[in-house]
Amino acid sequence: MQIQVLGSGCARCKKLHELTSEIVKELELDAKVDYITDVSKIVEMGIMQSPVLAVNGKPVMIGFIPNREKIKDLIVKALE
């Protein structure tokens, strides 16, 4: 399982990385949250916003939604 936060290094991107790491711990998932600042990876996914949350290489959240439950929900759904 691979969880990635892709961002250009802005404040919202860092926030998303923190939140995601916390959620992964909370759910006791066997995954490391990678923080990728190489913007070309975002563009290669066909996305023009930052940050992006991706589970197993698939974007599940584009742009930052500052809601813990929502992010948790998206990760759980993506894993099903």
Binding site: G7, S8, G9, C10, A11, R12, C13, V39, S40, I42, V43, E44, M45, G46, I47, M48, Q49, S50, P51, P59, G63, F64, I65, P66, N67, K70
Partner: protein, 321 residues
């Protein structure tokens, strides 16, 4: 009737009724001014940001990009500047957006039109101007912002600057998202709700501080004191105002209420508009981020032309109004 009259009643009741302050005292009138402005702006922020963010869920960046790749003289710039008004813009997205646009064939000049319009004509700035200065000034600001975005983008497009984009940008292959999922109505409302409260929470503190300082100036600064130092007679006032605006980026919300009081004290409107545009469009953090995709020379050209555009607008309004 004034739509905001009930807020004035509330503010009067609070300051002169409940707190029993003297209507003629400086403190009383400053506090009254502070409560009225902050309540009014809070309501406007919540209502308008919610509406805008709900409506914008219908315009995807994918659709936008498709429209902008069609190359008609200047029409691309006009469309890009208009899209810039409704789309949210966080400087974090500047780089992926720039690459995504340029990669898929959106002309460089059109991309710049968007990059100028998106932060400059943003909903928070326009709401604050509407709430504090009224509709005509808010529209004047938006119209000049859009015009600058169109003209600057168009000029830069004519200069053939593609070779000044950092090389790796041209090598990236933009992927495709495939099928975009259509959110349901409920999801759109929900997203807009979350977005609105996040944004309002973030800017409202600055608004309060700005309105607070504005109220102090309103009550305590001598009448027309700015007319002497920064009035129309001072030819350097406009460029200076633009320079002062650059580092104030994150505080656009706090700056506008202060500007309102400065205008009351004699700051000419054109100078004030130029200042506000520089606060929103010429932000230092965004320039640092853009350096990742623009060679230094191109970044310099961009900043120079944009600054000239803003300064010109400032002079123009000082002359006309």
């Amino acid at each position: 009737m004034d739509l905001f009259y009930p807020i004035q009643l509330f503010s009067d009741w609070l300051t002169f009724g409940l707190l029993n302050l003297d209507k003629k005292s400086i403190f009383g009138s400053s506090l009254n001014f502070f409560i009225y402005d902050s309540v009014k702006i809070l309501i406007l922020l919540i209502v308008i940001i919610f509406l805008v963010s709900f409506l914008r869920s219908y315009l995807s960046q994918e659709k936008m990009r498709k429209l902008l790749t069609k190359k008609y003289l200047i029409i691309g710039n006009v469309l890009a500047a208009l899209f810039g008004i409704i789309t949210p813009f966080c400087s974090c997205s500047a780089v992926p957006l720039f690459i995504g646009f340029v990669e898929s064939g959106v002309p460089l000049g059109v991309t710049f039109s968007y990059l100028i319009s998106a932060p400059m004509v943003n909903e928070v700035a326009v709401i604050l101007l509407f709430g504090l200065f009224g509709l005509p000034i808010a529209l004047l600001y938006a119209a000049s912002g859009i015009t600058i975005a169109i003209v600057v983008g168009f000029l830069m497009g004519r200069m053939n600057l593609e070779h000044l984009v950092v090389d790796y940008v041209w090598k990236i292959k933009a992927g495709s998202m495939g099928q975009e999922q259509k959110p349901t109505f409920k999801e759109r409302v929900n997203q807009a709700y979350i977005y609105t409260f996040d944004l309002v929470k973030k800017v409202f503190l600055y608004v309060l501080i700005g309105v607070g300082i504005g109220a102090l100036i309103h009550g305590y600064a001598p009448e027309k004191f700015l007319a002497q130092i920064a009035g129309k007679g001072n030819i350097l006032a406009v460029p200076l105002a633009v320079l002062v605006g650059v580092p104030l980026y994150s505080n656009a919300a706090g700056t506008i209420p202060i500007v309102k009081s400065l205008i009351e004290k004699g700051l000419p409107l054109g100078t004030a508009l130029a200042f506000m545009m520089s606060v929103t469009a010429l932000s230092f953090p965004e320039m640092v981020i853009l350096r990742k995709v623009l060679k230094l020379k191109l970044l310099g050209i961009y900043i120079a032309i944009l600054s000239l555009g803003i300064i010109f607008t400032g002079y123009l309004f000082n002359l006309v109004i």
